[in-house]
Subunit: 459 residues, 2 copies
């Protein structure tokens, strides 16, 4: 049994867990610019629309059926549905639905989808505790700052070795946010982060299955419970994040501690959040955008002999499914993205429906896409050339797709996206009222009205 311990370790990490706990517990309410506060409202609204929109997806049905085996108390809303469950299960279920369509937000520097774990935990707990809208926004900003900063420190190694970074850092963000909602002191906030640090969730192999959206849901639940445990006196290592056998060094060989402490409390990572115009992984967006631009230039599917696509290798690694057989697989197919862009000019949830994915013309058009790797092209860009039957070649290069930081969705576009997701579930009027509530969330005295609007009338 004897052997040497050979894994290297950094024994000189700064006290990250403590520093983050101080920040989360002590940073003043609304202690940031109006722009940051507005971005928090945009983040919340985008998350809410995604969760409501996927409320009746089969993944949501299955997860709710499993939760119901526990006979949960009716503490918090399952968004978009009439059922109510305990707050931890609500965090799980809303986290799952928020990511089910792959349509949620993205912190581009790390490919983290930050709202899923954090907002799902925050709303469920806030609803049960009777927290104010301001407390919710504060918790959201601080929680997302924690998960994204930890992500910044570990990316890309952590992601490259297989972690779905949304779930693995999301537990920390959710714990931080819930600790703030519970008004835990610095010491107990550090314990909440510590308990959460033992529960990084999610592997990239699950992409294309229901377990992918399970990751932010499970992270939300685990973070919420970590905060409740800390509140009740449960203990963890005060160096759980940074110690040699703590979370970060265990799950990543790259740990740039400075990413966590630099401008902490001055620069907020939620500022760099972006929202997807298309209902699939972010790396496909430039390709969809490019094909939509071809369509706008008059190119039609009938004219096309082939579509020559040049992208970074990561794009094909993540979304290289050439012959998707259903909507879920199509979300991991840059080929389907190109076909949808050229055919419809966009790719919302409907363009990933099973019957669209299997439609003959879509199958044929996908087969005309010839993808090649070119690592000189950024993974946020795409180079597309349509080769036409008349011999013409039409070229489009997308440096920054719509929805990127450089080319963001406007508030109006976000509202349109919200309607597209929620109208069918809640009705148009209720959805409009819910959107109005989202924009003024920071002034709301409680979350009950918002929760009522976000769920259908109970029979």
């Amino acid at each position: 049994m004897a052997r040497n311990t050979q894994v290297s370790a950094d024994h000189n990490a700064p006290p990250i867990t403590q520093q983050l706990a101080q920040f989360v517990a002590n940073h003043p309410s609304r202690g940031w610019s109006d722009a940051v506060d507005h971005e928090a409202h945009r983040t919340f609204m985008n998350w809410l629309g995604c969760a409501v929109g996927a409320a009746h997806h089969e993944a949501a049905d299955a997860a709710l059926a499993a939760v119901n085996m526990l006979q949960p108390a009716a503490q918090a809303s399952v968004l978009g549905r009439t059922e109510r469950v305990d707050m931890a299960s609500a965090a799980l279920l809303n986290g799952i639905t928020s990511h089910t369509f792959d349509f949620d937000d993205t912190h581009l520097k790390t490919i983290i989808h930050p709202a899923g774990p954090v907002a799902s935990a925050v709303l469920a707990m806030a609803e049960h505790l009777g927290s104010s809208g301001r407390e919710v926004i504060d918790a959201l900003v601080l929680g997302i700052d924690v998960s994204c900063r930890v992500g910044n420190a570990m990316y890309p190694d952590h992601y490259d070795r297989g972690w779905h970074i949304t779930g693995s850092t999301g537990t920390l963000g959710a714990a931080a946010a819930c600790a703030r909602l519970l008004k835990l002191d610095v010491q107990k906030t550090a314990m909440a982060l510590g308990i959460a640090a033992s529960q990084p969730i999610g592997m990239r192999e699950q992409f294309g299955t229901m377990t992918k959206p399970f990751h932010p849901g499970a992270a939300a639940r685990a973070g919420l419970m970590s905060a409740l445990l800390a509140q009740q006196g449960f203990t963890a290592s005060p160096k759980a994040l940074e110690a040699p056998r703590g979370m970060m060094q265990t799950v990543s060989t790259k740990n740039d501690w400075n990413e966590i402490t630099h401008e902490l409390g001055e620069r907020f990572e939620i500022s760099f959040n972006s929202y997807k115009p298309f209902a699939c992984g972010i790396v496909i967006h430039p390709s969809i955008d490019a094909c939509a631009q071809l369509r706008a230039q008059g190119v039609t599917p009938e004219q096309v002999v082939s579509i020559e696509l040049k992208v970074h290798s990561l794009v094909l690694e993540l979304t290289g499914k050439k012959e998707p057989v259903d909507g879920l697989q199509a979300k991991f197919s840059v080929y389907h993205g190109c076909a949808a862009g050229l055919t419809f000019g966009y790719a919302a949830e409907e363009e990933f429906a099973d019957d669209i994915v299997t439609r003959e013309d879509m199958v044929a058009l996908r087969r005309k896409v010839i993808a090649t790797v070119d690592d000189s092209i950024d993974e946020a860009s795409a180079d597309v050339t349509a080769v036409l039957k008349d011999g013409r070649r039409v070229h489009v290069f997308v440096e920054h797709a719509i929805g990127s930081i450089q080319n963001p969705m406007t508030d109006a576009l976000l509202e349109g996206k919200f309607h597209g997701l929620a109208d069918a579930v809640l009705g148009k009027d209720k959805t409009s009222a819910l959107i109005a509530q989202c924009w003024t969330l920071g002034e709301a005295s409680q979350l009950r009205d918002l929760a009522l609007l976000a769920t259908p009338k109970r029979p």
Copy 2:
């Protein structure tokens, strides 16, 4: 943002997830030797005693208080207590208490404590479902086989890089066991394993805090929920364990697939389970045993000038706390282990009580222990020399401590250990009746009687 993906991967792994699912779903009931079946009963009993014994520890109080915030349904027993909670929370709480005293079982090849995650999930679910004792024993054997085989494949790299292997493999064992209890088919059992694969739990940095015993508890809960999700149609990757970005390659650079498939269904890892005579980490046991042997040879603390201890480097890495200030810290102090061995001749939970740890003579004796690293000594052995005031040197070398595979606890010793843990919680008569139930568990038509005996009378 562009960069290369540089983490290496094995693209030729055998279909482990599928093979384990077939094994778990299809292996015949009691499809093993009488010796294996008896070991399963020993494993269950040892686990149960530990959980009952720690029922009123402050970690249990804090965890139960957090769970109670969710207003859980009364589906299953919290061992050693009057409260009942939903089955997932019972799995969590019983998993925590089973490991709180660091007194549970050990699969020595991997240092996994296998029963904590698996038995905690199994009993909670079986109690609620009304399963038979045979179904429980079957699920226990198969679940432990899954977690320990995955552990065998990844150990030691996985452990060395910081994972608390009990929690990280325990989720899989609990999911396998619960899938078996639920009678899931091969396909759904693979999904249960897949969902569980995204939830490895536990970092070694947490040793010495309540989050250490949280690991098997959280693993039990996560595994149970993974099985329920799979039952309800939730999906995961069918290659979630072995794929390049699946669990095993993400959390370990060593993956010896053969450890999982070799003699699957013929050799059962529960055969290699061992039970602790001492209430602390296994690596301290040879040192305690050696000092107890010094005491048996007539050496007294008063005579001692110094105790020269030579052990493998891992012993000091894990349990090198020189000046523990309370019982929890003392469990990670080989120095306290030596002092207790020489003073009392053993080290059960009482010998790790705060007031023993801080007693003046114990502090003084600990300071006389001079530990040096000698990696030529196996980590399961210890070399101890007592240097006495009269100049004599008394030497003891322990190759295999009591409680090891080579020198196992007898059934009678296990019963004595059970009484030592449970008498104070349940009373001596009830404890004796509970022990009798444990030995005949495989023939029990249901678990209700056992659960009633394992909990105090409700007021």
